[in-house]
Symmetry: C2
Subunit: 121 residues, 2 copies
């Protein structure tokens, strides 16, 4: 029964592309991550993914499209759609996705962090 | 495939306690509302409710507790728990809850707006 102060939670870690878990509701996990550079092409077969940009700018590339997300923007990546996040400078995001979603989807890379290894902060 | 700019969406309406729908993901609806004054005691039998304070301050009263939420705070109201939101001054919130959730829960009052009557903006 406590408030979760979003910005303060970002001060607790510095790693990039390493989601931290803030809370759970209705089977969805609220996560935050710091992003910098490029990630990997991936999709989530059964899970939509909500992004909210807290700081900076995130370019979400799709196979035939791209969406530039600025601070305060929300964006839903639909299930099954290949996407490739790029952050030229450090970007802070909140993500909401179902428990059990792999952040690299069906793609396994060195950047993959299993959800069981994702830390609650 | 467009960004949703959260703050701009609040400029599209002025009514209090009248949730507007911004998007849907994984069976959850993203809603925003302007709050001022007191609402009603209510609970949602099966649905957790995520609050994010975009502007202002929201006091969430519980039967034996209360939580003061400031700008940038997240808070989860667990399913089945009576709660009573109070905003002394105008407060802007984003809510995420499952499709089909009544915003006054099992309590029907003059302030109730059926989800079918909640507008997408």
């Amino acid at each position: 029964m406590l408030p979760i102060h979003l910005e303060k939670k970002f001060q607790l870690f510095n790693e990039y592309w390493t989601p931290k878990i803030l809370g759970e509701f209705n089977g969805q996990l609220i996560k935050i991550a710091k992003l910098k550079g490029e990630f990997v092409w991936h999709s989530h077969e059964h899970e939509d993914e909500l992004f909210f940009v807290v700081k900076g700018t995130l370019l979400m590339k799709y196979r035939n499209d791209k969406v530039l997300l600025n601070e305060g923007d929300l964006h839903i990546v639909p299930k099954g759609v290949d996407h490739y996040p790029v952050a030229d400078k450090e970007c802070w995001v909140m993500l909401i996705e179902p428990k059990g979603t792999s952040h690299t989807g069906t793609t396994q890379t060195e950047q993959s962090v299993n959800e069981a290894d994702q830390e609650w902060i």
